[in-house]
Every structure is written in C-alpha cells, then in structure tokens.
C-alpha cells in the first residue's frame, strides 16, 4: 500500500484537504502527530477508528449526561419514602374487567371489593355483617329472604341506592345475554336456572323482587344455609340500569362508572395502573386514605424491588418470589395469613390401579404433607382433610395421616407388595414452578415409602385443563379456592353433577349428605353432616388426597396501618392509614 499519509502531508490532494482540517478540529494535536509519525495505513485506520469510536463515545456521553441530569433531578427532589394518604399497591395484572357480572378473577374482585358494597359484607373472621342491608329476615324455613336496606345509601353520582338496583343487577346476572360465568351462584333462586339457560323467557317469574325502594325479597327453590354468604360476594352487588344501558360496554370506564363503595374509580390506564379515590358519600364515612394507586407489575422480582425502593407500600404473593420470602421472613414488615385455597392430588378412579380404594388409601398414607411447606417455604399449612380448619365441619381426624408402614401394608393387600407389579402411573400437572416442586416431592415420597414409580407429565395450563376435563390421567394435581366462607364451596365439588369433579368418583350417600347439609339450618347438625362427608371423602373412598392449604404472604411498610387479609384473599383498603406513624 502506498504511503498515503506522507502523500497527503506533502501534496495538496483533494482527499488530504478533506480529511485533515476536519481531523484537526476534532482530534488533539498530539494524537495527530503520533498518527502522522506512524506508518501509513495503520495511522489512517486509527483516524477512522478514532472517528467511529468518537461517534460512539458521544452517543454514550449524551446518554450519560441525560441520565445524570435526570437522576440528579430525582435526587434533588429528595423523594419522600411515602405519600401521606396515598396507598401504593401492586395488582400484578390488568383486571380483566370491572363489570362484576362478567368478571371472574381475583384481580378484578380485589378492585371491585373496594369500589362496591352489597347487601352484606365479609368480615375478616368469616362472618357476614350488614352493609347495604341494615338487617334481613329468613322466612318460610329458609326459602325466603327479606332484606331491609339503609336509607342513607348513595351512588357516587348522588342518586340513592335502592332495592330496584339489586333487582336489576340480579336479573341481569341471570340473563343469558349477559353470559355471566358466575350466574350459577344464584341458581338456588326460584326459576333462576331455567331463566339462565333460556328455558324460561320471562324474568318476572324469577324469585327476585324489589318490594319497595328499601325492601328486597329473594325466594329460593330450596333452603340454602350458605345463601347469605352469596349476598356479600361481588357478583351480587347492585347495579345502575340507566348507566349500564347508556354506556354499553364502556360503562366501567372511569368517566362513566357509578359505584357505591368506599372508593371510586378515578383513573384507569389499561395494563399499567388504576387510581381509586376516596368516596366522600360512602355511607360508613370516607376511607382514611385519599387515594389508592394500583400498579400492574407482572414480574414479582420487579414489584419486590419497587417495594424495597419505597415505590410500593404493600405487596402480597403476586410480588413475592420464594427467595424474597426467605430473606424477609424475620422482618417486622412480613406477615403470613392462611387462605381458603386447598391443594390436592386427585385420582381418576376409573383408571387402574386407582380403581382400588386400597391403593388410593396407600398413596394418601405414604405422603408426608409436612414436606410441602419445607419445599415451597411460604408457610403452607399441611392438610389431610378437605374442609379447612377455619370452616364448620373441620376435624383433624377426618383424613388419613402419614403412616408409611400402614401404607405399605395396604398396598400389599391390594396385590402390590413392596410396589412389585405396580404399573407406572402418570401424574399430570400444570406447567408452573411451584407445582412442579410439589409433584416432584410427591413422586419421591411414593418411591421411597411405597416403592412405586410415578411418571410426571406437565402441560401448559389450558391444555392441562382440557386434558383433565376430557379424560383425566390416573393422577393429577389440582387446587380449589373458596368463593365464600362455607364448607359447601369445597364439599359440593365431589358431587355427581358438579362440573369440576374430574375424579369420576361419586357416591349416592355422599350426594345425599351434601344435599341434606345444604338445606340444614341448624349450624351444629349441618357441621356434623359435612364432617361425615369429609370422612367419606378423605378416609373411606379417597378419590382425592388433600395436601396443603395455601397462604398469603404480605409485606407492609411501617407507615401503613390497618392492612388485614381476609381468608378469601380479598383485600379491603377502607380502614388503611398511610403516614400516621
């Protein structure tokens, strides 16, 4: 290659005129000197690299300057650790909808529970307290309810809340055109099922009626002792006919939304955040915080980092990863609450070898439930019975306890001594990390205590649901969360006609027990009926093996007071205070 640098230096070629003045402007002289002294092409390369690198450097420098200015502004503002009267929480995801007739998930219900109140209200000790209804009468042996409404109830637009709003809401819930997934909640109401399924067209024949603006009457087709709990659940909240009809699908957007609870929807940036402001017209007095900011941070570690950086005041399971629980277990900010959500291992009793109750019992007795909290480390409560301890009918002795010796004896009795000849059975589970840990532990327990091999099969969530419903494998892992605080929500699951009973097991005796319990108004007798059914389910027939109850793990900043978790996992922010240390 010719010695171009020298040429440029000596001659006045076009190229040299082009390059050098520019280089002189930008590159320091010492550098140019060094470059010109060095040998030809290499120095030209260096100029090029220098320019390119300089371009790059400038980009980074600009970025650095912007970042520094921004962070400086942020720092000089001396951001306080909390905003007095403002609660910042993480919802995790976008609520799929705030129309409480079509909403089905806990995120939506968490928001709706703070925007609306119904006839009654759940307390944290699982009873139903009066709310819109100041009192109610149970008539005709539990087949007729008469609710007397308060006269000081107001919607956020100032109009009074009346029994007609309840009548409209309940009829809309049952209207097939609404396609409400929770419509079955009111199937105990006279003619409700027929109307919802289109067999009956006239809504006036439903057992729902506003007697006058302050009296709401409900007639049931059979006594249902759990019915009062349904009046506190989101789907039974009142609704404004004029608003729904006027705004159609957009009636839940902040500019149109009319509610009657402690908060009102101020702002909703979809997929990002919601802001709930205090409702000064709330009958029970406005809440103590003026604003609740609900962010939708899907990634737990990010939400946790936001909490650590004082950008969130309160976080729950949605914002916790297991290592975070471990790290903060001894922190005064950490709290753990039991939930009414039970996990279980289910058998398809129509598939061998689980057609034999002895085999199912052996499996139930071979699993040490205490391993689950040790693996999942979120304070899970081991369970052997299906009814959780907080509910009537619970007995610690209903289920089969861990007893590997007895388990092996039962398996031998079933024809598989020491697990010999036991066919390799499939255990299906949905593809989730925590579930994988529990089924792996189950597999290990069964191998160690019974000598049987279980094959683990995982499927994506919806594929798993479709498989279990269509033709469940011999074993599968499942869970169930209570909709209301009554044993019925758990026990009804394994009746013959329940759409969620994928075990293929049913018994006329069990169905009879549940039916009797549903109509029994004597609480003691009712609890006893459920206890008998629980024994049948977990000790005699064993179509399922309850494993553990889930818990809610929360962290609350010291400047937040009054956060309490309901076992139904509902979060009420009405009584929360921020900043009153």
């Amino acid at each position: 290659m010719p010695s171009k640098t020298r040429q440029k230096k000596e001659a006045s070629s076009e190229a040299s005129r082009e390059v050098y003045p520019r280089v002189r402007k930008t590159v320091n002289k010492a550098k140019i000197k060094a470059m010109t002294k060095s040998s030809d092409a290499k120095s030209d390369d260096r100029i090029l690299i220098w320019r390119l690198a300089k371009g790059l450097g400038q980009c980074f420098l600009a970025l650095l300057v912007v970042v520094s200015i921004l962070s400086l502004t942020a720092c000089t503002k001396a951001r306080s650790r909390f905003e007095p009267g403002v609660l910042r929480v993480n919802l995790g995801t976008e609520p799929p909808g705030l129309d409480w007739h079509t909403a089905t998930d806990s995120t939506s219900f968490d928001v709706v529970s703070n925007l609306m109140v119904g006839l009654t209200q759940y307390t944290n000790d699982l009873t139903c307290a009066p709310s819109c209804a100041k009192n109610w009468e149970v008539l005709d042996d539990g087949k007729r309810y008469l609710f007397h409404l308060r006269d000081d109830l107001r919607w956020t637009d100032g109009k009074p809340v009346t029994a007609y709003d309840f009548e409209y809401a309940w009829k809309r819930l049952l209207n097939p055109a609404t396609a409400a997934q929770y419509a079955f909640f009111l199937y105990d109401v006279v003619n409700a099922r027929d109307y919802n399924t289109g067999k009956l067209k006239n809504a006036d024949l439903l057992g729902i009626k506003a007697v006058d603006p302050l009296t709401f009457e409900v007639r049931l087709s059979k006594p249902a002792a759990y019915f009062i709990y349904l009046t506190a659940f989101c789907v039974s909240f009142p609704m404004r006919k004029d608003v729904v009809e006027r705004y159609g699908d957009r009636w839940t957007e902040p500019e149109n939304f009319v509610t009657n609870g402690p908060f009102k929807l101020k702002h909703w940036q979809h997929e990002y955040k919601m802001e709930l402001s205090a409702n000064p017209q709330y009958f029970d007095g406005p809440p103590k915080v003026k604003l609740v900011k609900m962010f939708m941070v899907p990634e737990a570690s990010t939400a946790f980092a936001l909490y650590e950086n004082d950008e969130l005041d309160f976080i729950d399971n949605r914002s916790f990863s297991t290592p975070d629980v471990e790290r903060f277990r001894s922190s005064p900010e950490y709290q753990n609450y039991p939930l009414l959500r039970a996990n279980y291992l289910a058998f398809n009793v129509s598939k061998k070898p689980f057609t034999d109750p002895l085999v199912r019992k052996a499996v139930a007795m071979a699993i040490d439930r205490s391993i689950f909290p040790r693996i999942l480390r979120r304070g899970e409560r081991p369970a052997t019975s299906w009814i959780p301890p907080a509910l009537p009918g619970y007995s610690p002795d209903s289920g089969l306890k861990f007893d590997p010796v007895q388990a092996r004896a039962l398996l031998a009795q079933a024809g598989y001594p020491g697990g010999k000849g036991f066919p390799k059975a499939e255990l299906l589970y949905p593809n989730r990390d925590d579930v994988r840990l529990t089924v792996e532990a189950t597999q290990d327990e069964l191998k160690r205590n019974l000598g049987i091999e279980i094959e683990l099969v995982n499927q994506e969530w919806k594929v798993y649901l479709a498989t279990v419903r269509k033709d469940a494998p011999p074993m599968f892992r499942n869970s169930w969360g209570a909709d209301y605080p009554d044993p019925e929500t758990f026990m009804n699951l394994f009746t013959k006609d329940c759409g969620n009973n994928d075990t293929k097991w049913w018994s006329p005796k069990y169905d009879q027990l549940i039916q009797s319990a549903e109509g029994e108004l004597d609480t003691k007798k009712r609890a006893d009926l459920y206890r008998q059914a629980d024994v049948m389910l977990c000790r005699e027939a064993v179509p399922i093996v309850p494993t553990f109850l889930a818990t809610q793990n929360i962290m609350v900043k010291p400047w937040v007071k009054g956060i309490a978790i309901n076992p139904l996992d509902l979060q009420f922010f009405k009584a929360v205070e921020v900043g009153g240390q």
Binding site: M1, D45, F184
Partner: protein, 306 residues
C-alpha cells in the same frame, strides 16, 4: 419507487389474508378454549358465553364472520378483557411499544454499526476482539439477565434510575438499553462480516489505488455497500422491536403490546391473538417496503432491476 410501493400494498392484501387464515386455524387447533378455568363452568353458562362470542357457530361461519369484520377494520373483542375490543387494547398498547422500540432501535443502530465497522477495519487486532466479545455477550446473554443486572446496579445499588414503571423520561433509559442490547450486538456482527467481504472487492482496491483516504474509502465505498445486509435485517428487526418485547415489558412493568404475544395465546384469547399477529404482519410488510426503498437508494443497480 412509487410503483414499487403500490405493488407492495397490493401484495400485502393476499399476504395478510393468508396470515389471518393460518392463525385462525392454528388457534382453534390448540387444545383448551378461552373459557377453560380452574373452576369448570356449568354447560349452560358455557353455551351462553359461546353464543355471546359466536363460538357456537360452525368454524367456517366463524371464519367468514371474522373476515367480514376484519374488512371493516374491526379486529374483534377480547374474551379475557371483557368489554374491551382488540382495537382498544392494541391502540392503548402499541404507542408505548412504538416509543420504546424506536429509541431502542436507534440506540442499537448507533452503537451496533460503528462497533461492527471498527471490528472489521481492525480485523484481528485488540479492537476487533473487544468489539466481538461485546457483541457475543449481547447476543448470548438473554434480555431478562441484562434487565435484572441493570435494575440491580442502577436502580437498587446506585439508586440513580427507577426500577420499573412508565412514568417519566428517565423510566425509559433502562428498558431501552436492555431492549437495544441484542439488536446492537447482532448488527455489529453483521456489519463486521459485511465490511470484511466488501473490503476485498475490486472497486475498493480501485478507490485506494486512486489515492482516496481511508476515511473516504470506508465511509463512501465500503460502509455504504456493506449496509445492504444490515438494512435487510433492519426490516424484520424494526417490526420485532417496535411491537414490543414480552421480557422487557414484563420486567420493567411497561404497558406495551409485547406481552400480548404470549398472554393472548396462554388465555386462548382468539381475536387478540389474531389482532397481534396481524399488526405484526402489517408492520413487517411496511418495514420490508422501506427496506426495498432503502436498497434503491444505497445501490443504484437495484433501481435498474426494478
């Protein structure tokens, strides 16, 4: 050039029809439906839901209904986000992804191309090794590791930038850098390979032999020609980056549309799956049209061919 653009627009119609049809069929083949949940619903309720969303009709009828709506620009309704249309969801989310994607892409080009050029010019020297080490790192380290590391260093340890959320301009910095990392690395490698190839060409030798400086040779002759493959990948890359990244949006809690590519499928939200796929296809077509126009500007031979 206008003829080329018109031709592309006309060609886009059958392409989109094929994309919509294939996606329509594929989402219905996957097991599980939009209303499957851990709490199984009574058959009557499922029937009500299917009737509301026309899922009770035969699949061919559903298909033609869908195409009819599509022709009017209606992407349908979401089964998961009740009362929200796919048009609503995407028009809320797309501007966010577009904003973040444009910044990231600019960053990627500004860093990646010069880095690749430096590496090629200094082939085999320490500059090359450093540049290629950085680009290999950028390609092989996944976005969630980069994101988590940046959050840890800048947000938690140094506390100079926010952990996440989408509130102010400084909330854009970390997600933009995370999103730019991989494309920048990819562009750097591509530029390097391309420059190395062009350097050997006859016209480069001619340029040098007539006494052109290294700077002019590289910028006017080498880089311009070696940008052709870079521009080629920039088409799909643009569509990918501006439609959002699931990982980046997830870890920084950004309300973009990238998340729907995953969550819509998980929820079997049929119309939303189709909507996101079609938006992606349209952007890909637009980006590729730009690429073709850019070809003509960069390489005069292409104009003759066309």
């Amino acid at each position: 050039m206008i003829a080329l653009i018109l031709k592309r627009i006309l060609l886009a119609i059958p392409v989109l029809l094929v994309v919509a049809s294939l996606t329509f069929v594929l989402v219905r083949i996957v097991p599980g439906g939009p209303f499957d949940a851990d709490k199984n619903l009574p058959p009557e309720i499922i029937a009500n839901l299917n009737a509301k969303y026309h899922l009770d009709k035969p699949v061919p009828e559903q298909y033609f209904l869908y195409l009819g709506r599509l022709a009017q620009g209606d992407l349908g309704v979401s089964y998961k986000y009740v009362n929200r249309t796919v048009n609503d969801i995407l028009s809320d989310a797309f501007p966010v992804s577009l904003q973040l994607g444009t910044i990231s892409l600019s960053l990627a080009v500004l860093v990646g191309v010069p880095l690749g050029a430096i590496a090629a010019v200094c082939r085999g020297r320490k500059e090359d090794v450093i540049a290629m080490f950085l680009s290999t790192l950028g390609i092989s380290v996944p976005g969630f590791v980069i994101g988590a590391t940046l959050i840890f260093v800048f947000a938690i340890e140094l506390r100079v930038l926010p952990v996440g959320l989408w509130e102010s301009p400084w909330h854009v910095v970390l997600p933009a850098v995370t999103l730019a990392f991989s494309p920048a690395a990819y562009l750097a490698r591509l530029t390097r390979a391309s420059v190395l190839e062009i350097v050997e060409k006859d016209w480069v030798r001619t340029a040098r032999s007539k006494g052109l400086s290294q700077w002019s040779t590289v910028t006017k002759h080498i880089l311009r020609n070696s940008l052709i493959p870079v521009v080629t990948v920039l088409g799909p890359l643009t569509a990918i980056v501006i439609t959002g990244s699931f990982v980046v949006e997830y870890i920084y809690a950004i309300p973009g549309m990238g998340r729907f590519f995953i969550t819509a499928v998980m929820n079997r939200d049929y119309d939303l799956i189709l909507g996101t796929t079609l938006v992606f296809a349209v952007l890909l077509i637009i980006a590729n049209t730009f690429v073709d126009v850019a070809y003509q500007i960069l390489d005069p031979r292409m104009r003759i061919e066309d």
